[in-house]
């Protein structure tokens, strides 16, 4: 009788656990990070943030030392190649600066926003995803710097991803290569638009385009900044590496190599950009707040970026 009662209690406990879990999964899938569940998550992150920063402070020098020992042989060669590359890039930068200046002049004349005017916060990457089925990083700045969900995040080489959640002392960034990441993009040389998705088990992006898109390997891919896009127009995403035709001539799929090296990401910049809340009109470069004009969310976002 006692054995039967114990077995019955076990099944009851398991049933309660299953029902609770299913309820939480259902609620959380619909929450968009609002409500009590989101608040508990942010609280937990705030508690663990100091541990993450502490472990990173210890792990980084050890990791650097280990990399120095194991990669010592190739460092001299890398150094020579990098010096050559710096010289080349300095030439390119001078030409780009002239073009940027002209672009800025024209944009001001046309009263269009300028990406350089968007307030930004630079933060250090202190942790990577704690799980095996997501591609995220944690940074050391959050709510106290007015970093909020969905803000675009860029690195030295291009787009990194967007803010998934923020709390006091940190924020979580979903990387471009996460399979749940979707970014509206445009192929610069062809003017064709599509959506870039991360692919499981790959560090490349997949962009599906119309069948008539004459996209070629080597083409540049940037954010399209279409209506209500999370990302402003013109952020560097990657380069087309390979183009495949879909069966039945339904379209083409481009494999895109991101410019950002996600494995060696140390610092990122969060653009304080608010999608769907109106056009950025601030021209202050040092401010940490953005002036926005309330407008209906269906307004075109030609002014979303530069």
């Amino acid at each position: 009788m006692a054995v039967y009662r114990r077995a019955s209690r076990r099944r009851y406990v398991l049933l309660v656990i299953i029902l609770t879990s299913v309820t939480l999964i259902t609620l959380d899938s619909r929450r968009e990070d609002e409500g009590a569940i989101g608040a508990v998550g942010r609280g937990a992150h705030a508690v663990v943030s100091p541990f993450e920063k502490g472990v990173d402070a210890v792990a980084e020098p050890v990791s650097d030392w280990f990399a120095g020992v194991t990669d010592g042989g190739s460092l001299k060669k890398d150094n020579e190649e990098l010096r050559k590359r710096v010289a080349e890039l300095e030439d390119e930068q001078r030409a780009a600066e002239v073009a940027l200046e002209q672009n800025e002049t024209f944009r001001r004349l046309l009263d269009l926003p300028i990406l350089a005017d968007v307030p930004r916060v630079t933060a250090r990457v202190v942790n990577r995803s704690p799980g095996n089925f997501e591609w995220t990083v944690t940074i050391d700045k959050g709510e106290e710097h007015e970093i909020a969900r969905d803000m675009p995040v860029v690195g030295p080489d291009g787009l990194v991803g967007k803010v998934l959640d923020s709390w006091k002392g940190g924020a979580k960034i979903r990387l471009l290569v996460d399979p749940d990441s979707n970014v509206g993009v445009s192929v610069l040389q062809r003017g064709k638009q599509g959506v870039a998705n991360g692919r499981r088990g790959s560090d490349r992006l997949r962009v599906e385009l119309d069948a008539d898109a004459d996209v070629k390997p080597g083409d540049d891919v940037v954010t399209s900044g279409v209506d209500n896009s999370v990302f402003p127009e013109g952020l560097r995403v990657g380069t087309v590496e390979e183009v495949d035709e879909q069966p039945g001539g339904l379209g083409v799929t481009a494999r895109v190599r991101p410019w950002t090296d996600f494995d060696s990401l140390e610092y990122v910049t969060v653009l304080q950009w608010f999608p769907g809340q109106g056009d950025v009109v601030s021209t202050t470069t040092t401010s940490t707040t953005t002036t926005t004009v309330p407008s209906d969310t269906t307004s075109t976002t030609a002014a979303e970026g530069a």
């Binding site: 209690r9 076990r10 406990v13 398991l14 656990i17 299953i18 609770t20 879990s21 299913v22 309820t23 939480l24 999964i25 609620l27 959380d28 899938s29 569940i37 508990v40 998550g41 937990a44 992150h45 663990v48 541990f51 993450e52 502490g54 472990v55 990173d56 792990a59 990791s63 942790n127 990577r128 995803s129 704690p130 799980g131 095996n132 089925f133 997501e134 995220t136 998934l164 979580k172 979903r174 996460d178 399979p179 749940d180 499981r200 088990g201």
Partner: protein
């Protein structure tokens, strides 16, 4: 007291999983430390305690994941429950049991997580490419299991009833 010690162990496990193991990736994967803990508890105390520990550890871990809250909690709880039921039929525990259980539970827990994710519409788990990730993580779980089983054994040994010698 035993519940308090287990609760503390769950909290420490979640913090270590979230703050330390992302820096200790093995072939690009992290282990499921909470799952190994739940299995160790299930092996020692039975399915009920294992499932509750798995639920608590999984829920704590879920707070730090982008996947819906409750996915790891359910996967860990179900896996630990099964291990707890199966261990009841074992008369003795040879030395290879912890790494074997760590690996087997890693595979079962990983598959359960993916199955729940597919039902919940999580895009990141909808691919056959998850299989190598699950297997590698299970190997990592198996390697850590002896240490976790030892820790849980020591922690719970204090609760032995001096008169009977059985765990209470």
């Amino acid at each position: 007291m035993r519940v308090a010690r287990l609760a503390l162990l769950v909290v420490v496990t979640v913090i270590v999983q979230v703050a330390v193991f992302p820096h200790l990736r093995f072939a690009g994967v992290v282990p499921d430390l909470g799952l190994v803990l739940a299995v160790a508890v299930a092996f020692r105390l039975g399915p009920e305690a294992g499932a509750l520990t798995g639920f608590a550890a999984g829920l704590g871990f879920d707070l730090f994941l982008a996947t819906p809250l409750g996915m790891s909690a359910l996967a860990y709880a179900l896996t630990a429950y099964v291990v707890g039921v199966l261990q009841a039929s074992m008369l003795r525990a040879p030395a290879w049991i912890p790494p074997f259980l760590g690996f087997a539970a890693g595979v079962a827990g990983g598959l359960a997580f993916v199955a729940i994710g597919v039902l919940a519409g999580v895009e990141a788990v909808r691919s056959w490419d998850v299989i190598p990730t699950i297997l590698l993580a299970a190997v990592y779980d198996g390697l850590l299991a002896p240490l976790v089983f030892l820790l849980v054994g020591r922690l719970l040994a204090r609760d032995r009833d001096p008169a009977s010698g059985w765990v209470v």
